[in-house]
């Protein structure tokens, strides 16, 4: 088991290097001179050249990339923001907590609402509850998060004046963005749980348990659930990736000072080191979460566990 974990962690490294490479490549191919972007149109030719020298923009691609990776791995230095002149890592660390909190809350909401709804829908298939839940799930999946956010602001901030429409410092301020972001995740979790439960309930071994004379409660909430939740776990982990992306748009709407907003402003400002750093950061976080989910999965499903003994 430990060997499996070790191998997976080891494997993460080339993937992240690959991500850095892709981002580097993308920014390299982007038209526009970063020097001009930062220094402005009125900058002198000399100032531009100085800047280019200083930032190593005149070096060939591979040298630039190599230096970047070296500095990142050895010193944890992934550059300096063109806009704010502060180290990228520092800015990321400052913005990170808000995004994690937002994604985290959204995930928790999704699981708390999605799991029970999915389970009950499966048990009472075709009932009124099932139909209504499925309709809501479909709507939740289809609603763009930025529109939902705006609607929620319209209703709860503008019309009802119950909740603030921006910021993330008070508990009240966190409610709207977390719920807006969680909508899609709730829908996914509900649907996946429902379909997984439906499949498990029809399984032969469930029939065996019933033939033992076991109560329906233990059949469903013990045996069926245990088996059904295993694939749902993977989905929950993957949802985290969607939540991170969705957080970007949500943060823009609710003015949450997180990574997403930082990323959007950096893109607009052509602040390459910042964008690079942010994408790398998000990719790392996403990969780590996926790894954790995989490990948890191997732990929880004895069939997989046996493979990696």
């Amino acid at each position: 088991m430990l060997r499996y974990i070790f191998r997976r962690v080891l494997f993460l490294i080339p993937v992240l290097v690959g991500v850095a490479f892709c981002v580097f490549l993308l920014l390299y191919l982007t038209p526009g001179d970063p020097a001009k972007m930062v220094l402005g149109d009125l900058a002198t030719e000399q100032a531009i050249q100085e800047f280019r020298e200083k930032e190593g923009l005149n070096d060939p691609f591979w040298i630039r990339f190599g230096k970047y990776v070296y500095k990142a791995v050895v010193k944890g230095d992934i550059g300096r923001s063109y806009s704010s002149k502060t180290p990228v890592m520092k800015e990321l660390m400052a913005a990170f907590p808000a995004t994690i909190k937002l994604s985290g809350f959204a995930m928790i909401i999704a699981v708390i609402i999605g799991l029970p709804c999915g389970i009950i829908s499966a048990i009472k298939q075709y009932s009124v509850f099932d139909t209504i839940t499925m309709i809501f799930a479909m709507i939740g999946l289809s609603m763009p998060v930025f529109w939902l956010g705006l609607l929620m602001i319209l209703l709860f901030s503008v019309k009802l004046r119950w909740l603030p429409s921006s910021g993330f410092d008070t508990f009240k301020a966190m409610i709207l963005p977390s719920f807006a972001l969680s909508a899609q995740a709730i829908s996914m979790v509900t649907r996946m749980t429902r379909s997984s439960m439906l499949e498990v309930i029809r399984a032969d071994y469930i029939r065996t348990v019933r033939a033992k004379g076991q109560t329906e409660r233990v059949v469903i909430w013990g045996h069926a659930l245990h088996n059904a939740l295993i694939p749902v776990m993977t989905i929950v982990g993957l949802q985290f990736g969607h939540l991170l992306s969705g957080a970007m748009l949500t943060e823009s709407i609710f003015a949450v000072p997180g990574l997403g907003r930082l990323m959007v402003t950096s893109i607009m400002a052509r602040d390459y080191p910042m964008v690079q750093g942010a994408v790398l950061f998000v990719a790392t976080a996403f990969s780590v979460v996926n790894l954790l989910v995989d490990i948890l999965y191997a732990y929880v499903d004895p069939r997989i566990k046996a493979q990696y003994k």
């Binding site: 690959g18 490479f21 709507i139 289809s142 970007m248 998000v282 990719a283």
Partner: protein
Amino acid sequence: MAELNVTETQLRKQRGPFAEVMHRLSKSPLAMFGLGFIFLLVFCAVFANWLAPYPFAKQNLLHMFELPSAKYWLGTDEFGRDILSRLIFGARVSLQVGFIAVGISLIVGGLLGAFAGFYGGTLDNMIMRVMDVLLAIPQTLLAIAIAAALGPGLYNLMIAVGISAVPNYARIVRGSVLSIRGMEYVEAARAVGSSDLRIILRHIIPNSMAPIIVQSTLGVASAILNAAGLSFIGLGIQPPNPEWGAMLSGGRQYIRDFPHLTLYPGLAIMLTILALNFLGDGLRDALDPKLKR
């Protein structure tokens, strides 16, 4: 064997595969709604020039922020442009982006996945490692990064959204090809002497279609959603081109006083995604030979 009840005429009366799928699809009212809505959108997109009451870029600063009325069925926006007309033209943009982006993903991803699955070995390994790298970045974020690099514009938007979905299609096609390659009916076909090409055409492609079709339908939904999101944050479609996400972004600041600027474009996006999701779900059930439930 004269006692067998299945006669030739009975066999001939069975529907062809396409008709069979359509028949099964028609049993689901939601899927039919989805199909109908998409046809409506396509109709709007194709005949926008005739359907829309006003040109999408025509500003009328005397009639800004009008509420829905007989003259402007859905009201006007911050430049006095008719929202309904912009929605209709926006359908064209959304469908273009949706289909072309998925087309790109399908062709690039599909080819990569097919090669990986068919030839296996080092080629498979290399291709899938690259896909792993792309998959480490959440899809929307990847689209944003590519769009940021390419710059604004409709075609760049299509490319960005298309490329960001390539790993999904590569995986699905590869999975399909791998599983079918191993199936016994392929072995049986080889055993009777079928050529590789015949096997590919008669067995591999038809049997891999189902998950690809479902993924593509849902993929169009996802592409439209991503495109709207990108336009919302300013990458992608540039004004005055009508794109639903951009319309949302434009109307955002006036939400307190004139919510209808954001209400209708958002509704359009939601209904489109809903329709595509219903259709995709329906297709998934209709194409499933095991006829679940």
